[in-house]
């Protein structure tokens, strides 16, 4: 009971810090605190496997990706920071829209008959093998009952990898624009000096 309120305060504070921080690195730190607190919240909800995955995937992979990109972008001359933010100008409509969202979600949640079911006993307590939310329980649910979801997951990750390679790889939009002129400048004198013979043109291509 006390743990939930501590975690809730921690999560809200770190989320506010994430959104309002001036520098993205500070946002990453706030987001890290948020993710770890969320993992602990998952533990209070008997979702052990998801808690571990939250820490491994989010804190271990996604946040490190953010840190890498920040380091990549800030390696220029000037320190990496943003210009004037829209925060003061758009804060009022943003808060209005978000409060409407909050009200909608809350009203929907409060009209859902969850309270009746909250005392439903689970099979076993947290930590038991095969208990609700344990690795064994999750594995059976994922690989036996919801195999299609697992395969869709693999497909999503494959599409993401291909997309990242296409966007950020050497042959991507940035790479082509940078490298094409160099090659043309290098090859033009050679082609002019030697009259075009079919073998040379084919071999150099």
């Amino acid at each position: 009971m006390i743990a939930f309120w501590i975690l809730a305060l921690l999560m809200i504070a770190s989320a506010v810090f994430t959104v309002t921080a001036r520098r993205p690195v500070h946002s990453v730190v706030g987001l890290l605190v948020n993710f770890i607190a969320l993992a602990a919240t998952y533990l209070t909800l008997q979702a052990e496997f998801l808690a571990v995955m939250q820490i491994v995937v989010y804190s271990g992979a996604i946040l490190i990706l953010f840190v890498f990109v920040i380091a990549l972008l800030s390696s220029g001359v000037r320190p990496f920071d943003v210009g004037p933010d829209r925060m003061p100008r758009i804060l009022v409509p943003a808060v209005v829209f978000a409060v409407l969202t909050l009200a909608g979600i809350t009203v929907t949640a409060l009209h859902t008959p969850v309270t009746v079911l909250q005392t439903t006993p689970t099979n076993g307590t947290t930590g038991d093998a095969g208990a609700f939310g344990s690795v064994a329980n999750f594995g059976v649910a994922l690989f036996a009952d919801n195999l299609l979801a697992f395969e869709v997951t693999a497909f999503i990750l494959m599409v993401a990898v291909i997309g990242v390679v296409l966007i950020a790889g050497d042959e991507g939009p940035g790479g082509v624009v940078r490298r094409r002129p160099k090659r043309v400048i290098k090859r033009e004198p050679i082609l002019k000096a030697r009259p075009p013979s079919p073998e040379l043109v084919e071999g150099s291509g």
Binding site: M11, L38, L45, M53, L73, V82, M87, I105
Partner: protein, 101 residues
């Protein structure tokens, strides 16, 4: 569960609210992407809460899918950010026109 599920869902809604404000009001694309991660996490918290309330694993599977989509989204979004803003000293999504159709 000692705490009522409504509290968890309200916490999820508050986190979603903070994330929406971040996406709308910030113009740094990295912080916008982090706010989107906050939105994903808020949705995940609601899913896990309902999974626990109904003692049904389907919510966990959905949360697993959402984590995967979040990872893919972060990878692609950060790749776009890295390519778009590689030479820019300042980062501002309002000044990007390279992705215009």
């Amino acid at each position: 569960m000692n705490v009522a599920p409504e509290n968890y869902v309200a916490l999820s809604a508050v986190l979603f609210f903070i994330g929406v404000v971040g996406v709308i009001a910030r113009r740094n694309p990295l912080i916008m992407l982090m706010s989107i991660e906050l939105l994903f996490n808020a949705a995940n918290l609601a899913l896990v809460t309902y999974a626990r309330a109904w003692v049904n694993n389907a919510g966990h599977i959905f949360a697993f899918l959402v984590i995967t989509v979040a990872a893919a989204e972060a990878a692609i979004g950060l790749a776009i950010v890295a390519v778009t803003f590689r030479k820019e000293p300042f980062v501002d999504v309002d000044e990007v026109s390279a992705l215009r159709g």
